[in-house]
Assembly symmetry: C2
Homo-oligomer: 439 residues x 2
């Protein structure tokens, strides 16, 4: 493929579809400047693959690529590498960057420490605004971003922050300590990336300072890391809620074997759950053999429970993820969901009765006990939808309370849970309403 | 509630749980500076409610709150207001802001034009870097953010862009035109916010310039608007994929009636779809009455199809939303999914056969045709899972192709679609394998 020239934009379009060797070849056709931009946009795993693919080239070439990366991005790339490769790639960096990157590698990838960049702009509190601007111009070559400047004391403790805009707007001979914000929003090194992203999104800041337990400044987490985190976390949650493991990579870049493995686990677990329906059905086999008409409504009833459960669990899982509700709100939420379930169940229950009555009027399908059959179907729908709504809304709270991921309360998981109970509700009501008549 | 003092952080915690009147009262307890920060963080609808709640106060007080808002945020707030209120609130702004806000109100809320701020920093190409920095200091009071400065010609056409960091790092007597980037990423006024957010996230920019058809600069869309968009779009997609309409507001702020309405629509549509299962089951009623054992496996088989369909549709809907796959990749994707379905179906099929064989060995449950029953269950599972995977992966492409939202291919929708076909597959195979024997 690609023996003709290719543009960076064309390559972006087809990147996901290319085999590794084709990627390397196509990448080689880009002019150096475009290639650099392209390289910096890639995910860490792809950057690593390119670097390793370039290994037959002289070390100087690989070094030049490795040195393009900011320390936090270099650390991300090295996280992806095998230990022996990691040491070799680390050796390509200059001494000061190597020190920064090694420090970052000590953090968990999903922590604030693992996301942060140590290259932030710093000021002293006693400087004037004019001095501060001059000082920042000297730092501009080495910092990663210049949205904010951080005011530190001699022991590196964070005293305040000021945005470039505010610094520009301040009078030139004011002191930095008088114009900075001393009421700071900071994050700790170990804060997980999801919490960091909520904090940053809530305050609309371009960056947040990361400090250690003593209040010493360690680095900054910037909005661009966070946009990726928000998208990544939403993707993980969605994939889990659809009933598979999170893919952890773009769809087309997951090998077929890996794809099957990530989906077979949950599908098999759910299958074992569903086996209970076979046992439940076997338990009611006698009733079914006496009134086959009961079997006719089984899929309708259990699916309605599953659907209402999917709705409820999805809404609650997302509300928990966005911190719109917390575990201690569970009773408030469950109370609402019971009322919602009652409303939704009544609607479907009435529709179910109408279906039976209509067919009876039109075709006489259900014989002399048509009305009782209709009531059985209607009340079962009411019960099953209420139960589905209740189970679907409680399960995410229960999982969070147990320290598990609420997103595991997937639509298929809730549906499976509701299926067995749905059968029990249905056949119990049938016994009550049709016992001694049809049964 | 709240007759004691409350802090802004405490109020943030409980905000979602408070009734409008309590919100207003608690808000009134905050010191002015904290109240201002708090006000600016709120969603537009909440800001509007507070402003209207403050209406008994002198107009000067309301004016001071209204004037806190940047033009794009003021426009968002006014979008939420009734027409007569809108005119009144617009009148509270100073003349120049009123003009800016009126211009923004002409755009669709979800377009780049509706998100953008007209208060960006501008430079002339012929300035030196030192002059540019001095010029930006003059603008700092009036611009919203200062991440980038935009270089315009006398007719307001956008020539280039430079970040503050780059400007600081450049030599003081270089010309702006020599240090700026002329290869620009711009967005058009009508581009929808989802596309803008992908563009911004891909390039890791803090802001993107919005230009009209003639290349004239209209405003900037900044990262903080985009973080909200990413989260909002993911929430909408998830809620749709869970089988309800998007709530368009935090869970606890949706009234119970509204909540039922948003969920009853899809639930009823799905119910009508599920009614087809009752018709399909009625069609096979004879077969069931001859071999009740067939009914026993109905929930197991249709649920397995639904679960595999949910997995497939969720993965594809998300991959489409992230542009990881496009409509023209559909054949590549569907081919993969057929293989995945074959693999997953084989796993569940084997498990199904083992279940029947195990029960037969242990309890003799299924009589002389146990092996044929096992095969019927096993092959049905294979067929249903393959069909679920195929339907779940194709449907999002089909919806996108028809100009509809792929996220409508919700887990419950796919499950319902697969239920009816699952029954047909199962009873057809039963006829083939058990006809003349058990049937």
């Amino acid at each position: 493929m690609a023996t003709t020239l290719i543009t960076a934009d064309e390559l972006r379009e087809i990147w996901g579809l290319l085999a590794p060797a084709d990627r390397l070849e196509s990448f080689g056709f880009l002019p150096r400047e475009e290639a650099e931009d392209f390289f910096l946009e890639l995910r860490s795993a792809d950057q690593l693959a390119l670097l390793l693919g370039l290994s037959p080239l002289p070390p100087a070439v690989r070094r030049s690529w490795m040195r393009l990366l900011a320390p936090d991005d270099a650390a991300d790339l090295l996280q992806e590498a095998e230990p022996e490769v990691r040491a070799e790639l680390l050796g390509l960096l200059d001494a000061s960057t190597r020190k920064e990157v090694s420090a970052l590698l000590a953090y968990e990838e999903d922590d604030a420490g693992g996301l942060m960049s140590p290259r932030y702009a710093r000021l002293r509190p006693e400087m004037t605004v004019d001095e501060a601007i001059g000082y920042l111009r000297k730092q501009a070559q080495t910092v990663e971003t210049l949205h904010y400047a951080y005011v530190l004391d001699p022991r590196q403790r964070l005293l305040g922050v000021i945005s470039l805009r505010e610094l520009f707007a301040a009078s030139g001979n004011a002191r930095v300590s008088d114009v900075m914000h001393a009421d700071l929003v900071t994050v700790e090194e170990q804060m997980d990336q999801e919490s960091v992203s909520h904090l940053l999104a809530r305050h609309d800041f371009a960056a947040l300072p990361v400090v250690d337990a003593e209040g010493k400044m360690k680095g900054i987490v910037t909005f661009d890391d966070i946009a990726d985190v928000i998208e990544e976390e939403a993707t993980e949650d969605m994939q889990k809620m659809g009933g598979s493991e999170a893919l952890d990579a773009p769809y087309l870049q997951v090998s077929l074997g890996e794809m099957i493995r990530k989906r077979a686990g949950w599908l098999s677990i759910l299958f074992f759950g569903e086996l209970l329906t076979a046992s439940a059905m076997a338990y009611y086999e006698d009733a079914i053999s006496r009134a086959v008409v009961l079997a006719v409504f089984v899929p309708l009833i259990i699916s309605s429970g599953g659907n209402s459960g999917s709705q409820a669990s999805t809404l609650i899982v997302r509300a928990l993820a966005l911190s719109e509700v917390r575990v201690r709100d569970w009773w408030r939420v469950v109370r609402r969901e019971i009322v919602a379930g009652l409303g939704l169940g009544s609607i479907l229950g009435v529709l179910g009765v109408l279906r039976v009555v209509a067919w009876q009027q039109a075709f006489g399908t259900y014989g002399e006990y048509a009305f009782r059959i209709g009531l059985t179907v209607g009340f079962s729908l009411l019960g099953v939808v209420m139960w589905g709504t209740l189970a679907g809304s409680s399960l995410p709270f229960l999982l969070r309370r147990l320290g598990l991921d609420p997103a595991s309360a997937s639509a298929p998981f809730v549906a499976t849970l509701v299926d067995v109970t749905g059968l029990i509700i249905y056949f119990t009501l049938a016994n009550l309403l049709l016992g001694g008549k049809l049964l």
